[in-house]
């Protein structure tokens, strides 16, 4: 196995650990925003789609890249907006009194 793949594996496993330790501490209160947030984050595959759509490998590859860019962008835009919309709604009792409505 080439050293590049070894490094990739390190990155994957260490990121998995970071994810595990961070996410186990997310309260169940925020599990829906968590899911929409991780969904938006994994739409980072947009980065790969952009290259395929723009590199001009072949007509087929470009079209596939275009569809991939579209799909990933849907998740980036929609995912972050909806996560923010949800998180905006969570307020504590003491902060709400006298606070602005909506």
């Amino acid at each position: 196995m080439a050293s590049l793949e070894i490094i990739q594996l390190y990155v994957f496993i260490l990121a998995g650990f970071v994810g595990f330790f961070v996410i186990t501490r997310v309260p169940s209160l925020l599990h829906t925003p968590l899911m929409s947030a991780t969904n938006a984050l994994s739409a980072i595959s947009l980065v790969g789609s952009l290259v395929i759509a723009g590199a001009g490998y072949s007509t087929l590859a470009t079209v596939l890249g275009f569809v991939a860019v579209t799909s990933a962008t849907i998740n980036v835009v929609g995912g972050f907006i909806i996560t923010d919309r949800m998180l905006k709604m969570f307020k504590r009792a003491d902060r709400k009194a006298g606070g602005e409505r909506k």
Binding site: A15, L30, L34, N39, A40, S49, V51, G54, D84
Partner: protein, 462 residues
């Protein structure tokens, strides 16, 4: 390394850091919003960084895709109601998987036509398209069931599990062959096709009540597909974000399966136990006591502690706002109102919390199951709104019941239980609920929203 590459890698590193900080912020509700906005900035940095890459020759298709994606994604973010969140998330898993799979296919085609596919890259692309393709169709099936385009009851046929296992084994076999000989184009596309079919056969046999596990699992698969994309195109930010997503979905599926009393291996292999065919006990001969809104209002008026138990029925009836109004009246009379949220209440993890928060209920009143279960014995009234299986005492007592052993809310220990329900039809799992026939239980039949409005009206008059 040329300066452009350094700049791009720095952008990716910054994005990775912001992503992790964003997820960390979700551990503290008050900081979560800010943290996720920073993560969005990280995403923007990564995208801009990619756009200056040398490989990109033309921007026409890119701009088109970005514009079309924004045009579709924006309304999906802004206008989808909170009640539709489970299907909204399910369909977005599909979009994520589509992106990963198509990148995998295009990358394979490109390498095949030029230098040939190295084995290491073939391994990554294989995982990418396998996880991706089964997530595409699996998520679409989940979406269909949640949107009720497809029947939400489990759809099964004899020997289904064997067919599924055979398909999976064949796909894995093709993958093995490809590792040996990456140039076998037919094997590659057959593997993608089998992945697509397998996704359908994975989700169709699963009932609507199991959807929280399915969505979490698909979340994890979509993340792993994204991560494999990172391996294939040697991009660390993709590996990291995908691993975070994969870990998150994995953890959520474990939490959900525990809350539903399913073993962990059961979830991992998608072999969700057979649908509950027949309930162990039936309720023939038992009678229920129904209560008028007037009497219920009087009970609530004198209650010191009221625990509201919301279920999917509340979401369907859109009754969150009436719940808040009622709670305000109880609090005006000097009572305290808390909300008991079962981990699998609703159709996805945390769904009830979002709905109640949307109705302007403070999040510190929303209690997790372990936190509130000991409080029920102190509660004067437990108000069950459209929840059924998560309050069924059969989970504790009836060994023959399909839900035996599932952790439930101890609603039956409250002094008075008022159950709001449309009719005596059994819940999603199709199981009879003894709670409804208990001595201290009264049923308030009707649409949850209408019943709550009547209750509010009666309490105002009292």
């Amino acid at each position: 390394m040329n300066p452009r590459v350094v700049l791009i890698e720095a952008a990716y590193l910054l994005a990775s850091i912001l992503f992790i900080l964003g997820l960390r912020s979700l551990t503290i509700p008050d900081r979560a919003r800010r943290g996720m906005q920073l993560a969005a900035v990280g995403m923007l940095v990564a995208i801009v960084g990619t756009l200056v890459k040398q490989e990109i020759l033309s921007y026409g298709w890119i701009v088109g895709g970005l514009a079309l994606g924004t045009a579709i994604g924006y309304p999906l973010g802004v206008y989808v109601p909170m009640t539709a969140m489970p299907q909204r998330i399910a369909i977005s898993h599909m979009f994520g998987a589509v992106a990963a799979t198509l990148v995998g296919i295009a990358e394979y085609g490109h390498l095949q036509a030029t230098t040939g596919v190295p084995r290491g890259v073939m391994g990554a692309i294989g995982f990418e398209v396998l996880f991706g393709s089964l997530t595409i169709t699996g998520s679409f099936m989940a979406f269909g069931k949640l949107q009720e385009i497809l029947p939400s009851r489990p759809m099964t046929f004899r020997g289904q599990n064997y067919v599924s296992i055979l398909m999976f084994a064949t796909a894995a076999g093709l993958f093995g062959w490809l590792l040996f000989d990456p140039s076998n184009v037919a094997a590659f596309y057959s593997m993608v096709g089998l992945g697509l079919v397998f996704g359908v056969s994975l989700v169709l046999p699963i009932g609507g009540a199991d959807m929280p596990v399915v969505i979490s699992l698909l979340n994890s698969y979509a993340g792993l597909a994204a991560s494999a994309t990172g391996f294939a195109i040697n991009n660390n930010v993709l590996i990291i974000a995908g691993a975070l997503d994969g870990a998150s979905g994995f953890i959520l599926s474990i939490i959900m399966s525990r809350a539903m009393n399913r073993s962990f291996t059961n979830v991992l292999f998608g072999a969700f136990g057979a649908a509950p065919e027949a309930s162990a006990r039936t309720a023939s001969g038992l009678t229920v006591r129904s209560i008028t809104p007037e009497d219920a209002a009087i009970q609530l008026g004198f209650a010191r502690l009221v625990i509201v138990v919301p279920g999917y029925g509340m979401a369907v009836a859109q009754a969150q706002h009436q719940v808040r109004e009622l709670a305000a009246l109880v609090e005006k009379n000097g009572g305290n109102v808390l909300y008991a949220i079962h981990p699998v209440a609703g159709r996805m993890p945390g769904h009830m919390n979002v709905l109640l928060a949307e109705a302007d209920i403070a999040y510190d009143k929303l209690k997790e199951m372990d936190e509130i279960n000991d409080e029920f014995k102190n509660a004067d009234v437990a108000l069950v709104i459209g929840a059924n299986d998560v309050v069924n005492p059969a989970a504790r007592t009836d060994k023959g019941s399909p839900i035996y052993g599932m952790p439930i809310l101890n609603v039956d220990q409250a002094k008075q239980v008022i159950v709001m329900k449309r009719s005596m039809n059994p819940g999603f799992a199709g199981i009879e609920n003894e709670l409804f026939y208990a001595q201290n239980t009264a049923m308030l039949f009707g649409d949850a929203k209408a019943s709550l409005s009547k209750l509010v009206h009666e309490m105002k008059n009292a």
